[in-house]
Amino acid sequence: MVAIDLFLSRYVYLMIVILLAIGLYGMLGKRNLLKKLIGMNIFQTAIFLFFIEGATKAGGTVPVIDESLGMEAAKYINPLPHVLILTGIVVGLSLTGVALAFLLRIYRAYKTLDDRDIMANMKESSE
């Protein structure tokens, strides 16, 4: 029973850790730079999810003040992580745009996105 209770109160963290591991694997284990970028996006999403999960309160609704509910803080979930993640998502989007621009540039220069080929190409041309 203790294990089930622990799982029910912690299962979101488990999912987030799995997403983090998938993203880290994409960044470290994959050779293609575009796949690395996708891994970074998954990692980012896991962090967003972690913040949003930290904002929830039992018995709280969305943080839009309703006259019939009153102004008690316990009736509304924490708005601060939502704000941080709202800006974080848009910054992540523009970050993806810049990363894609870099990838386009790399592809134009080396005709490949595989990091081994790029490293070999760089070594060859520097000699």
Binding site: V64, L86, T87, V90, L93, S94, G97, V98, L100, A101
Partner: protein, 145 residues
Amino acid sequence: MIKQHYQSIIVQTICSLLIPFIQLFALYVIFHGHYGPGGGFQGGVLLAVSIILQRLYLGTKIAHPKFPPKLTMAFAAVGLLIYGLAGIIPMAYGASFLDYGSLPLFWVHDAELRALGILIVEIGIGLGVFGTLVLIFDNLVGERW
């Protein structure tokens, strides 16, 4: 019609029907941000999506005159400028940076003035995000201008 169109009557009709509604919803999201889910970031992204959808289904030859790519950078800069001015103008009136309670709009008072300042800032954010996203899209798909 013209060859640059996406060659499907269904896609053309649905997209041309959808775009005005997306833009209307984007404006609703920006201006209703005080009372419900929404705000500058979300509305700006929706506006950018409408323009990007237009570019996708019309092709660049027709879509670029409808919304010139040169304008996107101007939109982004104007949005940032609105935000910056909303921060700096209160300083000229003796308040601190970004203190909307001291904006020189004398027909509204304290808290309502702050709400108005939030609206101004949200419009600035919306324009900035809109311009930047269309700018990034235009550059990534390789249209020169």
